[in-house]
Amino acid sequence: MGERPYLYFLLQLLKVIIIFITEIISKSSIKEHMSRKNLFILIVLFPLLHGCVALNEVNQYAATSTAALSKVNDIDYTFSDYCLHDCELQQIRKGEIDTLFKCECEQQAGKADEAIQKIHFTITSYLTAIQRLSDNKGFTYDVSNLTAALQQNPLLKLTDEQIGVYNSAGNFIATASSIFYRKKKLKQYIERADPVFQSLTETFIFLINNRLREQLRIDYETRLANISQMLDNAKNDKGFKQVVVKLYLDERTYYKKHETVINSYVSLLRTVQKGHHELFLQRNNLKDTKIRGLIKRYAQDAKDILASLQK
């Protein structure tokens, strides 16, 4: 059944059908039938429930991480922005209007931004898939047609009350089977993905925290040097000096604003990275309340940082 979940579910459903038929043939009363039914359901469900995992926590982690990663746009500063600012400064420093001046930012800066976007997209796509697979809402089943078909069978003579009970039990069994299968697959995928996930997120953090931050700082310091030169050359022109000081204040605000967002985003990325590694380390103990609490905490940390970004 490893790669064919539907055959396994079919087998479970057939088991239940056999149980129902046996029950009816033995002509037991509804009350007796109900208590035996509970016993049968327990027997059928035991192997399914035994492996149940904290899917909710994995889902919560993946959902918060996806939302956290989407905040990359809040940084609102790209390598192309640097290139355009640099190009603008070159024109300003020429001190003349040159309509033919060209800014070639597509090649290097464009490729650098593409690197950020592609790594971001790859990590997000993986987390979105994990979120979908761990989402119980997407995997509920309806066996009402099946029980209606059973009711039409002249040999079985099922009452409406019995049909109602079988409906609920059938839906429950099908959903529980899916939980068991999804938990098993999630564990396998988290195990397989973690080394690559850690390496990719580390590279992503390095690019944002180290290289994009460096680019922003170089951008700011280059403009600051230009402003200082203007100020030193202004001599006694007080009005012009005031304009230059205003330029400096604007540049400083721009730099600080973007640096703050980079700090928050890097904290988010670190939380997402650690959270996945914790999932990997605890993949066999995901039922444990303490572990569930720990995974929840990562999701909560990410939520808190997200909230601080939205302020």
Partner: protein, 136 residues
């Protein structure tokens, strides 16, 4: 871990950055002793050094991107496998529908109803074909 060559590109960028800052500090400390031309010359050099640093940093980032291609491919492969599993689990409802048809076939045999038999056989066949088509 970064490739040593890429690491060196970033070190070179950082070196130009530090050099630019050192020139800037020199200007600020010796402003009163410098002639206008000397001061402007040094400002020009400071800005040039910082611009070099920025451009070399961009080159380094594109090199990192080339380095992570294999990791990106592996991650995309895992994502595709997760998506396949999602599709497979979604076939459970189809399995329930097949079971419904099979029960219908049984009922048709017992009640000797050829119409009901043909209807349920047709339904079961089309459901199974649909699953097989999705696989290929």
């Amino acid at each position: 871990m970064l490739n040593p060559d890429t690491q060196q590109v970033f070190e070179l960028s950082d070196y130009f950055h530090q050099l630019g800052n050192a020139v800037g500090e020199y200007i600020q400390q010796n402003k009163n002793f410098l002639e206008n031309d000397e001061r402007n010359y040094l400002y020009d050099k400071q800005i040039e050094l910082l611009q070099f640093a920025g451009r070399i940093n961009l080159i380094g980032v594109t090199l990192v991107f080339d380095e992570v291609q294999d990791a990106l491919k592996e991650m995309n492969k895992i994502t595709a496998d997760v998506q396949k599993t999602i599709k497979k689990v979604l076939t459970v409802q189809q399995a329930i529908d097949i079971a419904t048809s099979l029960v219908g076939i049984g009922t048709a045999i017992i009640s000797r109803d050829p119409k009901l038999f043909a209807k349920n056989c047709g339904r079961a066949t089309s459901l199974i074909s649909a699953i097989n088509n999705k696989k290929t």
